[in-house]
Symmetry: C2
Subunit: 361 residues, 2 copies
C-alpha cells in the first residue's frame, strides 16, 4: 500500500522536524515492507510569502485532497504578523478540510522529567487525552473593527457555537473516553461568565451525556479551576473536552506539566474521512532555535505515529505501537535526549537513534 | 478615621472567610488606634435568591456608593445556574462600579510548598502581579442564541475591545511594572488566532509602550505559550497584563503554581476613585467544604490587606505591611496552616493566630 502524504514543513524548526519525521517514517516502512509513503512537499511558508506575496495556491484545496493525510511542521515567523500567516494557512486548512476534532494526548514519556514535584514519584499519574473542538468557537474568525484609527476604535471577536458543532465534538470525546481504560470524561467550560454560547455548550454536553450514562463517568470544570486541578490532581483526569481556545491553552499547559512542549503531538481529524486529516506537533516554529539542529523531534515523531494509525484504519495499529515503543526507548536513554529534556543530543542524533530502534524492535 | 465597608459574604465559604476577615481587620484597627472599620452587611446570596427571587435590591448602586470599599466573599451555589448568580451580582458590580482593573499578586508565602520541583529550591523565583482587564473583552456579556431549542441552535459570545478600555489597562500595567524593582511587563495575547479585537489589543499595547521605552522592559506572549513559561521559567516573569478571560485562567494557574488557590487575593479597582473598589479572594464558594470550618482564610486576609492599602490612599501602607507580616508569620508556622497548605488547622485557629500576630508585631 502506498500512502500519499502532503508535507507542509512551513517555518523555522517546522522544516527540521518534517525532514526528520519523513526519515523515520521511511525507516518504518522499509523495516515493515508492506507499505510505503509518498510525499508531495509544499513550499508554503512565511519566507515564500515574503518573496511572492502568497502562502498557498488558489487551488490548494484540490491539491491537498489528492492525499491520504497532511503532515504539518509549523507556521509563524517574526516578519509576518501572526494573524496573517495563520489565517493564510493552518486555520483555513483545519476549517476547510472538515478537521473538526483536534486530539492532543499527553503523558510522561519514559525519561521525561515532569516539573511537578509530586509527579516525579509516579509518572503514570499524568495520562490525558485532550479533545479540542477545532472548527468553531473562539476561532470562528468573525468580528471586526470600527473607527480603527481613532481614539474611538472598537473591535469584536465573535465566538460561534452551534448545536451540530458541539454535538459532534462531544460524541467524539465520549467515544474516546469509552475506549480508554478509566472511561472518564471532564468537560471544560466558562459558562458562568460567558452566558450565551458556553451555556449552549454545557446543555449539549448533558444531552449527549445521557447516551453514556453508566458507561462513561463524566464531570464539568470551569476552565480557570481546571488549571488548578491539572497541577494538583493530575491523576483525577483522563479524557478532557474543551473549546477551541480553552483546549489550546490547556494543551500547552499539559505538555509543560508532562515535561516539555517539544514532545506533544496533535491530530486534526475529519472523522468522516471526506478530507485528509492533518498531523502536527503542538510546538511552534521556534525562531530562537531554528536552523541550529537542536529542535526536539519527538513531538513530530509522535504526531507521525498518530498519522500511521489514522491512515492504516486499524491495520497499522501494531506498527504505530512499535513506532511509539522505539520513541520511548530513545527518550528513555539520557544520551539521546535533546536539551529541553535535560540532554544534549541534536535533532539528527535523536532521529538516527529512533531509526535504529525501529529496525531493532 | 472611619472607613465604611460594604460587606457581601455571598455563598458557601464566602461567609466564613468574610467573618474571619472582619475579625482580623477589627484587631488591626484596635491595635493601631487611629482608624476603624464600619461594616454594612448585605445578604445578597444564592440562598436568599432561592427564597425571595432576587440577589440585589434595585437601588444596589446607590447603596454600595455610600461606602469606601466593598469586601466580597464568594458567589455561586449548585442550585442556581452559575451564569444567573454571577450576572446577578459580581459581574454587574465590577462593571457598574467602574472597576476596570483587577490586580492579582502571586508569590510564594512563607511556609507554602509550591508544587513545582524547581521552585522548592528558590521560592523567591515566583513573584508576579497579574493585571487583569476587568470591564470588557470576553466578559462583555454580549451575544445571544437563535433557534435555541432545535437542532439548528446557534449561539454567540461577543468579546468587545475598545481603544479607551485597552489604553487605560495598559497604562495601569506599565505603572505597576514601573513601581516594582524589576520593572518588567509581559503582555499576553492570542492575536494569531483572534484577528480583530486581539489585534487592536496588541496595537494599543505598543502605542502605550512608547511612553515607557527605556523605563519598563516589555515583551509579548501568546496565552498558550504563557502557561509553559509560567511552569518552566517563573523567574523570567514580573508584571503581567492580560484580557479578562486570559487573566482569569492565568491567575488561577499562578495561584496553583505558588502553592494554593486558597491564598490568592484580588482587588477590583476603580483607579479614578469615583466608585468604591472591591476586594475578594480569588477562590470560589467551595460547596464541598462550606460550613466545615476548614476554609483557608489567607486569601481573604491578603485581600483585606490590599483593601487597607487602597482606602488609606498611601497613609496606611505601613499598617498593610504589618498585616502582611502577621499573615506570613502564621503561614510560616506549620501548626497554623490549613489542609490545603499541608497543615490541619481550621479557619478559626488561623484567624486567631493572625490576630495574635497583629497584636505582637
Ligand atoms: C498556531 C496557532 C493558530 C495554533 C492554535 O492556536 O490553534 C497553535 O497554538 C496550536 O495549538 O495548534
Ligand atoms: C466567579 C467568576 C465570574 C470569576 C471570574 O471569572 O471573573 C472568578 O473566576 C474570578 O476569577 O474572579
Amino acid at each position: 500500500t502506498v500512502y500519499k502524504i502532503a508535507a507542509i514543513p512551513g517555518d523555522g524548526i517546522g522544516v527540521d522536524i518534517t525532514e526528520a519525521a519523513e526519515q523515520v517514517l521511511d525507516t518504518l516502512a522499509a523495516t515493515n515492507g508492506t507499505f510505503k509513503f509518498e510525499y508531495t512537499t509544499f513550499d508554503w511558508s512565511s519566507k515564500a510569502y515574503k518573496e511572492r506575496g502568497w502562502y498557498m495556491q488558489d487551488d490548494w484545496e484540490a491539491q491537498l485532497k489528492k492525499h491520504d493525510a497532511i503532515y504539518f511542521g509549523a507556521v509563524g515567523w517574526p516578519d509576518v504578523p501572526d494573524h496573517i500567516s495563520l489565517w493564510s494557512m493552518i486555520l483555513p486548512i483545519r476549517n476547510t478540510m472538515n478537521q473538526y476534532v483536534n486530539v492532543r494526548p499527553t503523558r510522561i514519556l519514559k525519561g521525561t522529567t515532569a516539573p511537578l514535584a509530586q509527579l516525579q514519584k509516579t509518572p503514570s499519574e499524568l495520562d490525558w487525552v485532550i479533545v479540542r473542538e477545532n472548527s468553531e468557537g473562539e476561532y470562528a474568525g468573525q468580528g471586526g473593527t470600527t473607527h480603527a484609527h481613532g481614539p474611538n476604535a472598537i473591535a469584536t471577536e465573535v465566538a460561534i457555537f452551534t448545536r451540530v458543532g458541539i454535538e459532534r465534538i462531544m460524541r467524539f470525546a465520549f467515544e474516546t473516553a469509552k475506549s480508554r481504560p478509566r472511561r472518564k470524561l471532564t468537560m471544560v467550560t466558562k459558562s458562568n461568565a460567558q452566558r450565551h454560547g458556553m451555556v449552549l455548550w454545557d446543555k449539549v454536553f448533558y444531552d449527549v451525556a445521557k447516551e453514556y450514562e453508566g458507561v462513561v463517568e463524566f464531570d464539568k470544570m470551569l476552565v480557570d479551576a481546571m488549571t488548578v486541578r491539572m497541577v494538583n490532581k493530575p491523576e483525577s483526569l483522563d479524557t478532557i473536552v474543551a473549546t477551541n481556545l480553552h483546549a489550546d491553552i490547556l494543551s500547552d499547559l499539559a505538555a509543560a506539566l508532562a515535561g516539555s512542549i517539544g514532545i506533544a503531538p496533535s491530530s486534526n481529524l475529519d472523522p468522516t474521512r471526506s478530507c485528509p486529516s492533518m498531523f502536527e506537533p503542538i510546538h511552534g516554529s521556534a525562531p530562537d532555535i531554528a536552523g541550529k539542529g537542536i529542535a526536539n523531534p519527538i513531538g513530530a515523531f509522535w504526531s507521525a505515529a498518530e498519522m500511521v494509525r489514522w491512515v492504516g484504519k486499524g491495520e497499522l495499529d501494531a506498527v504505530a505501537d512499535q513506532f511509539m515503543q522505539a520513541i520511548e526507548n530513545v527518550t528513555g536513554n539520557p544520551k539521546t535526549r535533546t536539551r529541553d529534556m535535560g540532554g544534549s543530543a541534536g535533532t539528527t542524533e535523536v532521529t538516527e537513534a529512533v531509526c535504529r530502534e525501529i529496525e531493532r524492535v
